[in-house]
Symmetry: C2
Subunit: 159 residues, 2 copies
């Protein structure tokens, strides 16, 4: 258990609950920047324990690694981040989060009137509103629903 000169990847993994491979992956994604010791092994700052924790929590909230990298960029380069630094990041973070929740709630409020009423395929269905569609999480190459419901009137004629 190293006490100065940085901590090892294994210790960081143990302290955060992350897999060693995940930490190496995060480095490759630019989320953390360890240096190397004489033997070529990674050495991390103790403060990176908190950095990893932040990543894990941000992921729980549904942020992607590039987004999280954006949050982390606002941390100071030279010194160990203070409580104030984290609080500042947290504010940015929270506004994204609020927006995400709001969108989800708005979608939910349309649900009862829409699926419940059986209007699913009609153009006046609020769930088809392009604004609401923008709520896409953009995860993977998911089809982004660029629709054109011009001929949208015959949906009710089930045989």
């Amino acid at each position: 258990m190293p006490q100065s000169a940085g901590i090892s990847i294994g210790y960081l993994a143990e302290r955060t609950g992350l897999a060693v491979s995940a930490i190496r992956y995060y480095e490759a994604q630019g989320l953390v920047e360890p240096w190397r010791n004489a033997g070529g092994q990674r050495r991390f700052h103790r403060a990176d324990i908190r950095r990893m924790s932040f990543i894990m929590i941000a992921q729980q909230f549904g942020f992607s690694l590039p987004e999280i990298r954006g949050f982390l960029r606002s941390l100071p380069g030279g010194r160990t981040p203070t409580k104030e630094d984290w609080a500042c990041i947290s504010e940015n973070f929270r506004s994204h989060l609020d927006q995400r929740i709001e969108t989800l709630v708005k979608l939910r409020d349309n649900l009862d009137g829409c699926i419940g009423c059986g209007c699913l395929s009609l153009p006046n269905c609020k769930l088809y509103n392009p604004e609401d569609r923008a709520a896409q999480k953009g995860q993977g190459p998911r089809y982004l629903m660029g629709d054109s419901p011009e001929t949208e009137t015959a949906a009710e004629n089930d045989p």
Copy 2:
């Protein structure tokens, strides 16, 4: 544009805004079950327009295809689903949704007190609570954070 004996995949795609390839993929996932005409081409029920719409909306709410398949299983096998059938599904659907929103809000409420205060790596941090961790979306082979923070006291000793 076929008027009886089912609709083609291209027409279904046009009506829903889905890609033809996506519809074939949904069939492979058991979300829809077309039959074949004499030439081997897929034929769908008109009611499948609504079925596809349901899938798209459920996806916006963050449900996975297996979950959506579960919702759809409650639809009647033989006959065309009625408004009542959709309303019934919608109820089930909504309770899942409420739960998801609640979890997200709970996580948010912990945010200010937790990231803001800089306690991220401490065991008393609410965001580390296993209950809250269960909020994982389980997308892909993401590491499920099986932690064991026995030695969790030295996190504050940044050099």
